[in-house]
C-alpha cells in the first residue's frame, strides 16, 4: 500500500540522465549515447527481462499499474493482455504471426512537452523500453511515430537507433534473438523504425496514428476491431506513449515495488497513480519548463515552490491540468492534486498529459475559450459530422462572444453544441470531440459570469400605451 499524499521524495527518476528541475539544472543536459547509457546502468533492465518469460514481464508491469502517460491513463500491463496469443508453433514475425508496437511520440497536445526531452537527450531509455515491451508482448516490429516538428528529436532517435542496431539491441543479431533470451520466450528478430508525422494533431490519436504509419490519411478508425486484435496492417498491435515505455526500465530493473513506492493511492477508491511523471509547466508562472515529480503533487505546490510562483506576483485564476482537451480547473481548484483522480474530483476530463498551463488573474477566459476552440476547428479530421461542423460553428460563436457581438441565446447555444459532441455521449468516432466538449463546457461553466459580461443586452418588449 503506497502513500495517499504527495511527500516530494522521488528516488527513481525517469530523467536521471537528463538534469531536470527540481533535481538538476537543465543547462547540464546533453545527448546520452550508448556507452554513457550503459555506463549509467542502461540495458540492464532489458537483460533482466530477457531472463524472464514474456508472461512474467507482463505480470510485473501489470502489478506496477503503469497508467498510460499519453493521456488516457489506461494501465499498460492490462492493455498488453488484450493481445491474442502468438499462433501455436510460430514465432512473432513469421508469416501470419507479425505483431507490432506503435510508439506514440506525436506529442501534439497544446501545452505538452515531455516526451520531447526523453527523445532528445536519453533516447536509449526509450529504445530499451521498446525492446522490453517487444519481448513481453512478442512484437517483432516497433514504429516510433514522432511529431513532424520534432526534427532534432527524430535525428537523435535515428542516431541512437543506429547505435542500438550496431550493438545488437535490434536487428538480425538482436538480444531477443540471442542467448541473452534465456527466459523461455520465443526467439525472433526485432526491428525498430522512426516514422515522422506531417503535423496533424489527430495523428496522435492511436488509430489515426496507425493509419498514418500505413501511409494513409489520419482518420481515426472505428472500433471494434480494437488495435490489440487488428491494428497496424491488420495485425495485433500495442500502442503506448513514449513516457509509458520509458517507465518499463525502472520496473524491470528494480521491480514493480520500486515504481509503486512513488506516487499516490487513489483517495476516491479508484485505481492508484504510481510512479513519477514528467510535467511540462507553461503559462503565467515565473519559471515554466519540464519538471519531474511524483504523481499527486498539488498544483499550488508545483507553481509556488518549484516554478517561482505566479508571474509578476499576480493571482492564480485558472489552469488546464494536462493539455487543453482536459478542460479547465477553476480559481478555487488551485489545490488540485495532479494525479489520475483529478477528473472525478475536479470536474475535468482527466489528468491528460499532466502538463499544466496556468492562467493569471488578467486572463480573459472568453479569449482562452476562443483560442482553444480555434485549435479544435483546425485539427478536427473532418470525419464525424458533429465534430467537423460543430467545431467550426463553436469557433464562430466564440468569436462573436469575444467581440461582444453575442446575446444570451448564443451562449446557451455554445454550451448546447459543446455538449452534443464527443465519444463520451457516443456521437463521434474519437476523443478529439470530447476534448472540445470538455474544454468549452468547463470554461463556460466555471467562468460563466465572464461570458455573460460580454453579452449584448437582450431585447425588451416595450408596450407603448395609448391613453
Amino acid at each position: 500500500m503506497g502513500k495517499t499524499a504527495y511527500d516530494g521524495t522521488p528516488r527513481h527518476l525517469l530523467c536521471k540522465r537528463i538534469p531536470t528541475p527540481p533535481f538538476g539544472d537543465w543547462n547540464d543536459r546533453h545527448y546520452v549515447d550508448y556507452d554513457e547509457y550503459v555506463a549509467t546502468g542502461g540495458y540492464v533492465a532489458l537483460r533482466k527481462s530477457l531472463a524472464q518469460s514474456p508472461d512474467a514481464v507482463t505480470q510485473e508491469v501489470k502489478k506496477a499499474v503503469v497508467r498510460g502517460r499519453g493521456g488516457a491513463g489506461f494501465p499498460a500491463g492490462v492493455k498488453w493482455t488484450f493481445l491474442p496469443p502468438v499462433p501455436e508453433g510460430k514465432a512473432p514475425g513469421d508469416p501470419g504471426a507479425e505483431r507490432y508496437l506503435a510508439v506514440n511520440a506525436d506529442e501534439s497536445e497544446p501545452g505538452t512537452f515531455k516526451d520531447r526531452l526523453l527523445m532528445e537527450f536519453d533516447p536509449h531509455q526509450l529504445l530499451e523500453g521498446i525492446a522490453i515491451c517487444c519481448h513481453a508482448c512478442g512484437l517483432n516490429k516497433a514504429y516510433i511515430f514522432i511529431r513532424g516538428e520534432y526534427y532534432l528529436q527524430a535525428e537523435r532517435l535515428e542516431r541512437a537507433l543506429a547505435e542500438a542496431y550496431e550493438k545488437g539491441i535490434f536487428g538480425e543479431k538482436c538480444v531477443q534473438n540471442s542467448d541473452a533470451n534465456s527466459g523461455g520466450g520465443p526467439r525472433f528478430r526485432v526491428d525498430c523504425y522512426v516514422h515522422r508525422g506531417a503535423g496533424a494533431y489527430i495523428c496522435g490519436e492511436e488509430t489515426a496514428l496507425l493509419e498514418a504509419i500505413e501511409g494513409k490519411r489520419g482518420y481515426p478508425r472505428i472500433k471494434p476491431p480494437f488495435p490489440a486484435v487488428e491494428g497496424l496492417f491488420g495485425r495485433p498491435t500495442v500502442i503506448n506513449n513514449v513516457e509509458t515505455l520509458c517507465h518499463l526500465t525502472l520496473i524491470m530493473d528494480e521491480g514493480a515495488e520500486a515504481f509503486m513506492a512513488q506516487g499516490v493511492e487513489s483517495t476516491i477508491g479508484g485505481p492508484p497513480s504510481y510512479g513519477t511523471k514528467l510535467m511540462g509547466m507553461s503559462g503565467h508562472v515565473e519559471r515554466p519548463g519540464c519538471y519531474e515529480f511524483e504523481l499527486g503533487i498539488p498544483l499550488r505546490l508545483f507553481v509556488e515552490e518549484h516554478c517561482g510562483g505566479m508571474r509578476n506576483g499576480k493571482a492564480f485564476k485558472a489552469a488546464i491540468p494536462g493539455g487543453v482537451s482536459m478542460g479547465i480547473l477553476g480559481t478555487d481548484q488551485y489545490d488540485a492534486e495532479l494525479d489520475f483522480d483529478i477528473g472525478r474530483k475536479y470536474d475535468v476530463l482527466g489528468l491528460g498529459t499532466a502538463c499544466p498551463t496556468v492562467f493569471d488573474e488578467d486572463t480573459d477566459m472568453v479569449a482562452v475559450a476562443r483560442n482553444i476552440s480555434r485549435f479544435y476547428k483546425h485539427e478536427s479530421c473532418g470525419q464525424c459530422t458533429p465534430c467537423r461542423e460543430g467545431s467550426g460553428w463553436l469557433y464562430q460563436l466564440l468569436c462573436r462572444l469575444t467581440d461582444g457581438d453575442a446575446r444570451a441565446k448564443d451562449l446557451d447555444l455554445t454550451l448546447e453544441l459543446a455538449e452534443s459532441m464527443g465519444s463520451m455521449p457516443g456521437t463521434t468516432i474519437c476523443g478529439l470531440a470530447d476534448g472540445n466538449n470538455f474544454a468549452m463546457r468547463t470554461i463556460i461553466q466555471k467562468f460563466r459570469s465572464e461570458f455573460e459580461a460580454k453579452l449584448k443586452p437582450a431585447f425588451v418588449t416595450a408596450t407603448v400605451g395609448a391613453s
Binding site: 472505428i222 483546425h378 459530422t385 464562430q396 452534443s420 457516443g426 468516432i429
Partner: protein
C-alpha cells in the same frame, strides 16, 4: 433464429448483420448517409445512432444498458440476440436533430436550382428527422464547383462528406481518383491535378451521392426529378444484363440509373449503359414504312408495305427458292420467336441467322486484377449486344439450324436464296461492307431477290431493300434478354414507340395476319402527317393508318413459346421479372402531375 427488437418491432436476423441492416431488411427506417450496402462501413455521418439494452451473459442475461447507455452507430454494431435498440429515444432523436442541423449549416440550401432536389436524403431527412429551423447565424464555408471528369460535376458546397464516392473509387473500381482534401470543415472531395474521374464505372458516384454534390453533366438542369417516371428495364447496350431504371417523361428518356440486383450488377452500371441510349432519340430514326415503287423507295403506309412484303416473300418462295431470316442480337427473345414463326410459315425450311454481334476489346474486371468469379468484382462486357444468346436459343428451338452472322452472310450470297428478311436495331451503323455485300437485291449483280429490312435507324442498307419497316428500340418495348451469364430477364416498355414505327414483334404478328389474309387488320392507330403532295402545292394533312393485328404482348408470347416448343419451356419458368416495390412515403399524398 435470433431476434432483436428495433423501435419496438421484433426482427429476426442472421448472425453478423448490423442493426441498421436488420432494420432496413424489416422495412424500418433508420436514417443513414455514409452507410451503403456496397461499400465498407465508416460510421462517420453519425445520424444512425441509437441506444440499446443488451442481455449481459455475466448477469444471468439480464438486460443492461449497452455501451453504458451511450449512443452508438447502428450501422457498425452487429445485432445481438435479445437486444432492444431504439433510434426513437429522446437521446437518439436529439442526436438526429443535431446532426441534421450540423449538416445544413454549411450547406447552400439551393434546392430550387439543384438537380438532386426531390430525391435528396438531406431533404428527406430534414422532413422526417430535422428540426425545421436553423440557429446558424454565421458565415457559411464557401466551396467551389469543380469539373471532376468528363461526365461529372462536383458542387463541393453541397457535399456532406459521407465519403461514399471516395470509397467507391477505392473499393469498387480500384481506381482511387477521388480523395478527401483538407481537414475539418474545410475538407473537400477532389481529384488529383490532371487526373480526371474517368473510368468505365465512374458515373455511379452520381447515384451514390446522397445529396446534389456529384452531378451528371448530361442531366444537368434537364428535368426536375419529380416529373420523371421510372420503368424497370434491362441493359439494352451490352451483354451483361445490368438491371436498370429508365427514367422518362412525355415519351423522352432523360436518364438511366442502376437497379439493384445482387446477382448481376449489384448497385452499379457502366457509363456505357448509363449514357448509351442516345440513339433512341436520334435524328435518323426511321419513322415510316417505305416500299420500292418503280425502282425508287418511297414512304408509304403500312397496308401497302405489308401487302408488298407478303406478296414478295410468297413469290420468291413459290419460285422454289429459300427464305433467309437474320435476327439481330438487339431484339428480344419474344421477337425472335415471332419472326422465326413468320419465316417458317412462309418457308418451312427457312435459313436462320443471328445478326453480327459487336465486340469492343476484352472483358474488363473491376477492381483491376480481381478474379472474374470474385463475388465482389464487376465485369464490363466486351460484347456490345444484349441478346445474342437469347436469339440463338429461340431460333435454335424453332428452326433446324442457326448460322452465325459470318456464315449467314456467306450463305445468302448463294443463288438458292430468293428472299431475305433482315433486322437491324443497332446503335451504330451496322451496314459494313460484308453486310452490304450480302444483303442486297442482286448481290454482285447476280440474280435478283426480295429484301425486307426491319430497322430503327437509316443506314446505307436501306438502298438494298424492297420494303423497309421502322422498328423500335428496347426502351419502346417489353421483352426478354438473355445475358452473358445465360440469365433470362424480362423488362417493361418505358416510352411509346416513336411516331409510326412499331416493335419488330408487332410487325411480325401483323405480317403473320397478313399472310393468313386475316380479313382487315384492325386500324388500330391513325395518325396525321403532313404530306407535301407536289412541289408548289399547299401542304395537305393526310390521315395515315397503321393497321394492327393481335397486340404483341411479351408475356403472352412467352406462354405461347413455352407451350409450343419444349425447348423453350424456360420462358414459362426461368424468366426473371422485374420486381419493383413502389416506394411509398407514409402521410404523403401522391398526385398525378
Amino acid at each position: 433464429m435470433p431476434t432483436i427488437t428495433i423501435n419496438g418491432v421484433a426482427c429476426e436476423f442472421t448472425k453478423g448483420q448490423m442493426i441498421l441492416q436488420v432494420a432496413h431488411a424489416n422495412g424500418l427506417d433508420i436514417p443513414s448517409y455514409c452507410y451503403h450496402d456496397g461499400l465498407t462501413i465508416v460510421a462517420s455521418c453519425r445520424i444512425c445512432l441509437g441506444e440499446a439494452m443488451a442481455p449481459n451473459p455475466r448477469n444471468e442475461g439480464k438486460l443492461e444498458p449497452y455501451m453504458g447507455g451511450k449512443l452508438f452507430p447502428t450501422c457498425q454494431t452487429a445485432a445481438v440476440d435479445g437486444m432492444v435498440v431504439n433510434t426513437d429515444s429522446t437521446k437518439a432523436v436529439a442526436n438526429q436533430k443535431a446532426v441534421m442541423e450540423y449538416l445544413l449549416i454549411n450547406h447552400p440550401l439551393d434546392c430550387p436550382v439543384c438537380d438532386q432536389s426531390g430525391e435528396c436524403l438531406l431533404q428527406d431527412y430534414s422532413f422526417s428527422y430535422g428540426r425545421g429551423a436553423s440557429r446558424f447565424e454565421e458565415q457559411k464555408v464557401k466551396q467551389p464547383k469543380k469539373d471532376v471528369g468528363p461526365n461529372i460535376l462536383l458542387y463541393s458546397d453541397r457535399c456532406i462528406l459521407c465519403t461514399r464516392c471516395v470509397r467507391f473509387t477505392r473499393e469498387v473500381t480500384g481506381t482511387s481518383e477521388l480523395y478527401v482534401n483538407g481537414r475539418g470543415n474545410k475538407s473537400e472531395i477532389d481529384v488529383f491535378p490532371g487526373v480526371a474521374l474517368d473510368n468505365p464505372l465512374a458515373s455511379n458516384v452520381i447515384d451514390l451521392c446522397p445529396v446534389g454534390a456529384l452531378l451528371d453533366k448530361e442531366f444537368l438542369f434537364a428535368q426536375r426529378v419529380w416529373f420523371l417516371r421510372s420503368t424497370p428495364s434491362i441493359d439494352g447496350i451490352t451483354a451483361s444484363g445490368d438491371n436498370i431504371w429508365i427514367e422518362h417523361n412525355e415519351g423522352k428518356v432523360y436518364r438511366v440509373k442502376p437497379r439493384e440486383n445482387l446477382a448481376i450488377n449489384k448497385w452499379w452500371i457502366t457509363d456505357e449503359v448509363r449514357y448509351g441510349w442516345k440513339h433512341v432519340h436520334a435524328e435518323h430514326r426511321l419513322r415510316s414504312p417505305m416500299r420500292r415503287k418503280h425502282g425508287a423507295l418511297i414512304e408509304d403506309d403500312y397496308k401497302r408495305a405489308y401487302e408488298d412484303t407478303i406478296a414478295g416473300l410468297k413469290k420468291a418462295v413459290g419460285g422454289g427458292k429459300r427464305l433467309a431470316l437474320l435476327v439481330s442480337p438487339n431484339l428480344t427473345c419474344e421477337e425472335a420467336y415471332a419472326l422465326g414463326t413468320l419465316a417458317k410459315l412462309i418457308d418451312p425450311q427457312a435459313v436462320f441467322g443471328v445478326g453480327p454481334v459487336p465486340f469492343v476489346g476484352e472483358d474488363q474486371t473491376f477492381p483491376p486484377g480481381a478474379a472474374a468469379d470474385d463475388a465482389k468484382a464487376f465485369t464490363v462486357r466486351a460484347e456490345k449486344a444484349p441478346n445474342a444468346r437469347g436469339v440463338q436459343r429461340v431460333l435454335g428451338a424453332i428452326g433446324q439450324m442457326v448460322l452465325d452472322a459470318d456464315a449467314f452472310l456467306a450463305r445468302v450470297k448463294e443463288p438458292d436464296i430468293g428472299a431475305i428478311v433482315a433486322t437491324g436495331n443497332y446503335r451504330e451503323d451496322w451496314a459494313t461492307a460484308e453486310v452490304l455485300g450480302a444483303i442486297d437485291r442482286a448481290p454482285g449483280g447476280g440474280e435478283s431477290r426480295f429484301v425486307v429490312l426491319l430497322d430503327t435507324h437509316g443506314t446505307p442498307l436501306i438502298d438494298h431493300a424492297d420494303v423497309v419497316i421502322p422498328g423500335a428500340t428496347w426502351t419502346e418495348k417489353a421483352g426478354t434478354f438473355e445475358n452473358a451469364e445465360k440469365v433470362l430477364q424480362a423488362f417493361e416498355q418505358a416510352i411509346p414507340v416513336i411516331e409510326l414505327a412499331k416493335t419488330e414483334g408487332q410487325i411480325a404478328l401483323d405480317l403473320i395476319a397478313e399472310f393468313h389474309g386475316t380479313p382487315g387488320l384492325a386500324d388500330h392507330r391513325a395518325s396525321v402527317v403532313i404530306v407535301d403532295e407536289q412541289p408548289g402545292q399547299v401542304p395537305q394533312a393526310v390521315e395515315v393508318v397503321a393497321p394492327r393485328s393481335r397486340l404483341f404482348n411479351a408475356a403472352d408470347i412467352r406462354t405461347e413459346m413455352a407451350d409450343r416448343y419444349p425447348g423453350l419451356s424456360a420462358f414459362a419458368t426461368d424468366v426473371v421479372l422485374p420486381s419493383v416495390d413502389a416506394e411509398k412515403v407514409e402521410g404523403v399524398e401522391m398526385v398525378e402531375l
